[in-house]
């Protein structure tokens, strides 16, 4: 409504909290605009009306203050800020108490990727699949340093602390794909720690839960201004090539956070122009980069570490299915 005039872009209101937060945001916005105009209009008016050229120096009024006016202004402001506080506090409490029947998901933040663990043992990387119009409660912890799960379209954010659990809950009221950011500085690839929330209809969600297949054909409605990253959504059509599918997986599974595809130095070794070559390991032995080296490095990363890199790669055992593994290998092979 009114605030739309001000912003030509409007962040999508994709959760139950979004309209609530936006209402308070607009209230403070209008209060700020009005008080800003009063101060600036007053200043500009006085400056022109009492310009040195119009009013000589010695003809100014002797006013030292007006306590009643000041107290009035102070009291009015006190009332307004108390209203803002109470309104914010009430909405905040709603954000902090998840309903008991919420669909619970474990979230593990780790240096530079998000892992979502479902009750039935499924583990997704950088991808949170949730049902529409159902309360979802995220129980979050971190493996190493502070992170913060931030979904702008849902207006929710919560820091993720090592060795303790914090909670976020929401009801996604719109199907589609929404970006997840890390909002607490966590090191080199803090800005690459991106994820996606995929909100599915109730039946699609249950089918995914049982079969692990995402809805085919129906183009998941993408978030406001175009999809997060430009590659094709890997789970949509089956017809794209294995290497392309691998490229989508390489990004969505969070590999890009540490392994660069352009040869630039990263936390992990670069993966371009490497297939079939000999690499030296930390214990000095040499090994050829072939299918089972890649497969082993994905499932048991600590087994053969390339010289000069730390053994900090998390295991993806149980998260990468056979066909996804072949897609990744095809992609790495294609990186000549």
């Amino acid at each position: 409504m009114l605030s739309l005039l001000l912003f030509q872009w409007r962040l999508e209101q994709a959760s139950n909290f979004a309209p609530v937060v936006d209402r308070l945001f607009d209230f403070i916005l209008w209060f700020s605009i009005i008080s800003f105009l009063i101060i600036v209009f007053g200043m500009v008016l006085f400056t022109f009306k009492y310009w040195r050229k119009k009013i000589p120096e010695n003809r100014t009024a002797y006013i030292t203050g007006h306590t009643k006016l000041e107290l009035g202004v102070a009291f009015f402001l006190l009332v307004v800020v108390m209203v803002i506080f109470y309104w914010g506090w009430v909405d905040y409490k709603a954000m902090k108490n998840p309903p008991h029947d919420a669909f619970e998901v474990n979230v593990i933040g780790r240096q530079w990727l998000w892992q979502f663990q479902y009750a039935d043992g499924k583990m997704l990387t950088n991808e949170l699949i949730v049902p529409k119009d159902k309360a979802v409660s995220l129980i979050m912890t971190s493996e190493d340093v502070l992170h913060s799960l931030y979904i702008p379209d849902f207006r929710i954010k919560q820091d993720v602390l090592p060795k303790s659990y914090t909670n976020l809950w929401f009801v996604a009221n719109r199907a589609g794909e929404f970006p997840i950011f890390c909002a607490e500085y966590c090191g080199t690839a803090h800005s690459a720690m991106l994820g996606k929330v995929k909100v599915l209809e109730q039946d699609d969600f249950e089918r995914w839960q049982m079969t692990g297949k995402l809805p085919v054909g129906k183009r998941t409605m993408d978030h406001g201004q175009g999809t997060m990253d430009q590659q094709p959504d890997v789970t949509v059509g089956e017809k794209i090539s294995l290497a392309d599918k691998g490229r989508g997986l390489f990004a969505s599974k969070g590999c890009t956070a540490c392994h660069s595809v352009t040869g630039a130095a990263g936390v992990g070794p670069a993966v371009n122009k490497i297939f079939g070559k000999e690499v030296e390991l930390t214990d000095g032995k040499k090994t050829k980069v072939d299918e089972n080296y890649i497969r082993q490095s994905v499932n048991e990363p600590q087994a053969r570490i390339v010289k000069g890199y730390q053994p900090i790669m998390p295991t993806f055992k149980g998260q990468i299915s056979e066909e996804e593994m072949n897609a990744l290998i095809a992609y790495i092979k294609s990186l000549k």
């Binding site: 619970e104 998901v105 474990n106 663990q117 479902y118 009750a119 039935d120 043992g121 583990m123 129980i139 912890t141 303790s164 659990y165 914090t166 909670n167 249950e206 839960q209 049982m210 055992k317 149980g318």
Partner: protein
């Protein structure tokens, strides 16, 4: 000096203050030897503050100083108090979250190839088995497997003596595996499905190492104990233990069912057990009574492996529920947490596989025991 200091020549006052300080120190040290609960901290702080005030007023002449110095010094403590109280308002009032209980993914990914490898009793498997045995089984079967565990005295029939070579339900690896998984009906041997599949195979290897009589598996013993199904299923098959049904949403199952068999009208869910206290009693007697005694009075010596120091090992007995003051006595979630995880150090095995309704029945029964 200009103002002719009032407090010049106060040697005698200093000695008196000094004496007072010594007395107060003696008081506070002696008080600390007695346990008044929270009062101890309060008394210690009160005495320390009195001593501090004495030092400030007399030794540091704050008494005769001008107003500004006094305000300055006191403001330091005011801001320190603000710091403590507001930080405390956060640290001491945080809510505790518990993560979702996820079914054991490790076994889910176990392939048939691994099952083959586990069945052949390897030496290091037996060593791992011994360690698990100490935690899960020593309570009844005794530290050396002779069936003379501390809890054995209260059991009838007596727990199996592995060194005797007698296997009631068969001694082949698959049969022992089946007995561990589903327990021995008619006796107090509960099923240990919550132990992961590799751990159970390690136990099998260790138990057979104790027993002189080691029969080998035959195809029909495999089939009879259901282990054969585990062999031929492909990689990533689910854990062979009891199937976790609640993962399938009821609404989905209903829709599938209606779509395939049109014409079914309604599906009534059978009522859970009769009144809950007797259900609680049944669970208590089957799983807990052997160590915690009939009335929950405890006092049964529990032989312990590992963590506890020498002198504690002999005297460790199960506690009397009525006396215990721990958090589980007033918080059911803590009770469920404690019982499902068990106390490895104190040789209490974990019992995880109860439905929510059985948990509350057991909890109410244990509370009724405490009330007697």
């Amino acid at each position: 000096m200009a103002k002719g200091h009032k407090f010049g020549g106060h040697a005698r006052a200093y000695i008196k203050v000094w004496a007072a300080l010594l007395v107060l120190t003696a008081v506070t040290v002696s008080v600390s030897y007695y346990d008044f609960g929270d009062w101890n901290a309060f008394v210690a702080m009160l005495v320390a503050t009195v001593k501090g005030v004495l030092v400030c007023l007399f030794f540091m002449h704050l008494m005769y100083d001008n107003r500004v110095n006094q305000v300055v010094f006191i403001s330091a403590f005011v801001f320190l108090a603000i710091f403590i109280l507001l930080t405390g308002s956060d640290e001491w009032f945080r809510r505790e979250m518990k993560p979702v209980k996820v079914t054991d993914t490790a076994s889910a990914a176990l392939g048939a190839a691994d099952m083959e490898k586990l069945m052949k009793a390897a030496p290091e498997l037996a060593a791992k088995g011994k360690e698990i045995y100490g935690v899960q089984c020593a309570a009844c079967h005794g530290a050396d497997g002779k069936g003379d565990g501390p809890a054995a005295s209260a059991l009838n029939p007596k727990p199996r003596d592995f060194t005797s070579g007698v296997w009631k339900l068969g001694g082949t690896p698959s049969q022992v595996f089946h007995t561990i998984t589903h327990g021995s009906p008619g006796t107090s041997m509960a099923g240990f499905a919550s132990v992961s599949v590799p751990d159970r195979w390690a136990l099998v290897a260790y138990l057979r190492s104790l027993s002189p009589n080691k029969p080998e598996d035959t195809p029909e013993t495999l089939k009879q104990s259901g282990v054969d199904k585990m062999l031929d299923q492909g990689p990533g098959t689910r854990d062979q233990g009891p199937k976790t049904t609640e993962a399938i949403p009821v609404s989905f199952a209903m829709k599938q069912y209606v779509q395939t068999d049109v014409g079914v009208t309604d599906l009534t869910v059978p009522p859970a057990g009769t009144d809950s206290v007797s259900l609680g009693q049944k669970i208590y007697q089957s799983d807990c009574m052997s160590c915690h005694g009939f009335q929950g009075k405890g006092g049964i010596p529990v032989s312990v492996v590992g963590f506890v120091s020498e002198k504690e090992r002999a005297t460790l007995k199960t506690k009397d529920f009525a006396v215990s003051r721990q958090t589980w006595t007033y918080n059911q979630a803590a009770f469920i947490d404690l019982v499902s995880n068990g106390l490895p150090g104190r040789n209490m095995p974990g019992f995880a596989d109860y439905s929510a309704e059985e948990w509350s029945a057991l909890y109410r029964y244990v509370q009724s025991l405490r009330a007697r």
